[in-house]
């Protein structure tokens, strides 16, 4: 949200910086700046931010020309997918700041999404369960988590979560302490244009985690649900078999999630309840923190030392 100083127009100031004002407007702005320290400060800040972006001179690697020539000599055009180029695959370990804080059209500070747990009975807009028993089961779990937990009752958090709890006050506030030990479970996940689906093998529930910053919960109707066409999810990849039942009974998932981007993945993982939500960790080191307020965080626990203890008893 733009700061609004009385009588000031920061948008015009921005245009002034870009030389987009006519001569008359420029003079007006210059005159205004003479008497407005706030706007002078804002203009200076724009300039400093611009300077900070520039950094030093950048020189491309010399082999760029040679490699380009080699490619252009290739008899067949190469696909445009950057992922097909060497280097990116090797750089897969490079961390990028993507979609850590809740998604949507832009970044949103973490603090805004760690609100208090939604009280039972309120309309959280976060839960959509397709069966009555699922609603009751979920409410029971939420109620259980909302019991105040004495400090000495806190369970040992998952290592990948413990680090975040220890170092980030916002996570500590939102998630609270672990209310039970972590348990092994089977997880199935699939990524779409605008989010992901996660299926828990222990509870047979499906989480939809979406770019709007919310997570939603669905009960898996099971294989008896009407089968969907494999092309219903669109795109070149198939909708995973574990998600076809819920997809068939929840037509809202398609517009919410968009097309399939990655194939379905089946992994073992760990789940742990917290005062303020739930932590899911899969054997790939991916951590999901699902907060009762309806928001989520996710990151890759590349320090993972916890491994699945073996085959999950819950099965799929």
């Amino acid at each position: 949200m733009a700061e609004q100083h009385r009588g000031c127009d920061l948008a015009r100031l921005s245009a002034y910086r870009d030389g987009e004002l006519d001569r008359v407007e420029q003079q007006k702005v210059r005159k205004h700046l003479q008497g407005c320290s706030s706007c002078r400060s804002a203009l200076d800040e724009y300039a400093r931010l611009g300077a900070g972006l520039q950094g030093g001179r950048v020189t491309p690697p010399r082999m760029l020309h040679r490699e380009l020539r080699g490619r252009l000599e290739s008899p067949r055009p190469r696909p445009w997918s950057v992922g097909a180029l060497p280097g990116l695959a090797a750089a897969a370990s490079v961390a990028l700041v993507v979609w850590v804080v809740v998604g949507g059209p832009g970044s949103v500070p973490l603090a805004q999404h760690l609100g208090p747990a939604v009280p039972l009975g309120a309309e959280p807009g976060r839960v959509a369960v397709s069966s009555g028993s699922g609603v009751q089961a979920l409410d029971d779990r939420v109620a259980a988590r909302q019991r105040p937990v004495a400090a000495d009752e806190c369970a040992e958090p998952l290592p990948g979560v413990a680090v975040a709890l220890a170092q980030l006050p916002e996570v500590r506030t939102g998630l609270g302490c672990a209310t039970d030990a972590a348990r092994v479970l089977s997880l199935v996940s699939q990524t779409f244009e605008r989010g992901s689906l996660l299926r828990r093998g222990d509870t047979r529930e499906v989480y939809a985690i979406t770019e709007d910053g919310r997570w939603r919960l669905y009960a898996d109707p099971g294989p008896s649900a009407q089968a969907v066409s494999l092309s219903d999810a669109g795109g070149r990849l198939e909708l995973g078999n574990w998600f076809r039942p819920v997809w068939s009974v929840r037509p809202d998932l398609r517009p919410m999630l968009g097309q399939v981007v990655e194939s379905q993945q089946q992994l073992h993982g760990l789940v742990q309840p917290y005062e303020g939500g739930l932590a899911l960790w899969d054997a790939g080191g991916r951590v999901y923190l699902l907060l009762d307020g309806g928001s989520f965080l996710r990151y890759l626990d590349d320090r993972a030392t916890v491994r699945s203890q073996g085959a999950a008893s819950e099965g799929f």
């Binding site: 949200m1 733009a2 920061l10 948008a11 921005s14 245009a15 870009d18 987009e20 200076d44 800040e45 400093r48 931010l49 611009g50 900070g52 972006l53 520039q54 950094g55 950048v58 491309p60 690697p61 760029l64 020309h65 490699e67 380009l68 020539r69 252009l72 055009p77 190469r78 445009w80 950057v82 180029l85 060497p86 280097g87 990116l88 750089a91 897969a92 370990s93 490079v94 961390a95 990028l96 700041v97 993507v98 850590v100 804080v101 998604g103 059209p105 832009g106 970044s107 973490l110 680090v163 975040a164 170092q167 980030l168 990524t191 779409f192 996710r298 990151y299 890759l300 626990d301 590349d302």
Partner: protein, 193 residues
């Protein structure tokens, strides 16, 4: 030994080069700027290299449609921007932030205010500003970089991003305000003079 140039490769491609400028000349004129722009957009040199390669290859394949004169630069940057944004969006879906990156995001490197070395403070500020940039939507990021680092006019940025000049002006304003906000929320110190 005959040295093949990029221009000589035109025989491998039915597209004819614009009369005013050969592709090789354009490559040499714009490779540094384009690479730097992509580096600031994508955040690391390996990926910037791959994106630059892909962008120039695409430009070469479309060289018959390349404009001439002052319109060539926005055309090249448009190709690069689209390539980069497509990749950023793809990664948004399938790439994960490491735990260290996650922690760093919310606790950026702390600069001791007692450190008398202003250059260190400035470098830290620049790093924080670039980190803050990564929180901006791709279009905001592209607008700011094209304006502040590549020196494109609002009209040229509009050509790159497929926007009107007025829309570019508004986007630049919103991008600057968002960047200021994120920078402060990440713990950025007041930008010193």
């Amino acid at each position: 030994m005959q040295v093949r140039t990029l221009t000589s490769l035109a025989s491998a491609q039915p597209a004819a080069a614009p009369a005013e400028q050969s592709f090789e000349q354009a490559f040499h004129d714009y490779q540094a700027g384009l690479y730097g722009y992509l580096l600031r957009m994508i955040g690391n040199s390996d990926d910037a290299y791959d994106l630059a390669l892909a962008s120039f290859e695409k430009a070469y394949r479309s060289w018959s449609r390349a404009p001439s004169g002052n319109e060539l630069k926005p055309w090249l940057y448009r190709i690069a921007t689209n390539t980069c944004i497509d990749e950023l969006r793809r990664r948004k879906l399938v790439r994960w932030l490491s735990l260290d990156g996650f922690l760093q995001l919310f606790h950026p490197s702390q600069v001791s205010l007692e450190n008398p070395e202003r250059e260190v403070v400035r470098n830290e500020q620049s790093a924080l500003i670039r980190s803050a940039m990564e929180q901006l939507p791709e279009r905001y990021r592209a607008c700011l970089l094209l304006r502040e680092c590549e020196g494109l006019s609002c009209e040229e940025i509009g050509e790159v991003l497929g926007m009107t000049r007025g829309a570019v002006k508004i986007t630049l304003f919103r991008a600057r305000e968002r960047l200021r906000k994120v920078y402060r929320e990440m713990g950025g110190d007041p930008l010193d003079g």
